[in-house]
Symmetry: C2
Subunit: 212 residues, 2 copies
Amino acid sequence: MRKSNKVSMAVIRRLPKYYRYLGELMENEVKRISSQQLSQLTGFTASQIRQDLNNFGGFGQQGYGYNVEDLHNQLGKILGLNRVYNTVIIGAGNLGHAIANYRSFEEEGFKVKAIFDVEPEVIGIEIRGIKVRDVKELEDFIKENQIDIGIICTPKDVSQEIADKLVNSGVKGIWNFAPKDLKVPDDVVVENVHLNESLFTLSYMLKERINR
Amino acid sequence: MRKSNKVSMAVIRRLPKYYRYLGELMENEVKRISSQQLSQLTGFTASQIRQDLNNFGGFGQQGYGYNVEDLHNQLGKILGLNRVYNTVIIGAGNLGHAIANYRSFEEEGFKVKAIFDVEPEVIGIEIRGIKVRDVKELEDFIKENQIDIGIICTPKDVSQEIADKLVNSGVKGIWNFAPKDLKVPDDVVVENVHLNESLFTLSYMLKERINR
DNA sequence: TAGATTGTTAATCGATTAACAATC
DNA sequence: TAGATTGTTAATCGATTAACAATC
């Protein structure tokens, strides 16, 4: 957190992976690790790992390496995992269900406060104890419940409309599963999970392998 | 497809986005588009778009631009979307359900032939007409049904074991939703969807915005 | 033909890797 | 102290952008 200048997206997307492996090492009661050993686990070069970490401070010790638990904690803080986020899911279809049921997100501090949908059949039911509400209530609910993150699991044709409502009610982060590039103001962050793009990339690579 | 040398992953991951926007343009009956206009839609620079496309051939025409339908077709072929892929889903939990129900994958040629699970309660049920089978039958089923892609929606602790079975039965492509880096031979392709890493990246960016 | 826009080469920028002095 | 391994600077590599001749 020391360095003031912008850390590149390439670095940031590697951090969760470091965090995950360090968590696994903790479970296995490993106490220390060198950049060389982390390199073997993650597949990134030792040099890159040291460069990445030094964007945020010197967490290691010469001749020793890194303390696993300490580094895990530091990365958790850097990733913003040392607090609770209130979230809402919009779209109670299969994907909305899947995410609402994903226990490990809750463990990391991402709390699902409500799920919204338009279909009368699902409004009122509960998913893992979380009530499905009418999407008409979305904006009021966000304002009254300090929601940080909106998770869009709707069809693509309504995703922008939902994003607008989220933004207007003060949500600063959107996790978007709709295959659409949302337009939002500069102070709002969108993280996309474009499953179709991922699948098409797989299909491309599959084709490449076969043609060789 | 002309150029023989390796196209970078950065380029490949942009192709599905071009493909998507071209599809939308077709729906709106737009016939031609310039790299400049595509740049406005996608957010990539016109120069980059021309560079990207020219990895695979000259699809445009000077003074005119690109024919939307033609370019869409070409990209479809490049991405390997001009054929059908047989897939199986392993794990009939919420995520497995969500993917099995995702109609648009089927439309692009990704056919789900079976779903596998270990739980006696779900074995035998049908999801969108697709039978849930005992995971014990996985390897035989793959061999008998020319399965191209295995979609792993299991908990992380069994994901490697499942990947091994897929590989041993001849699957060449794995779409992995488990938060784990799978070890597979060189001739097998893995495309990961690591939702936790995506969420943590969002949380990082959210923190950055707030701290400014 | 004149105007537009590609395809492609060259220049720039940024990210990764290598090297090594600092130091635990 | 000697050995190990970091933090950091410099060198390399690759990806993006700019520029423009080719050409429809």
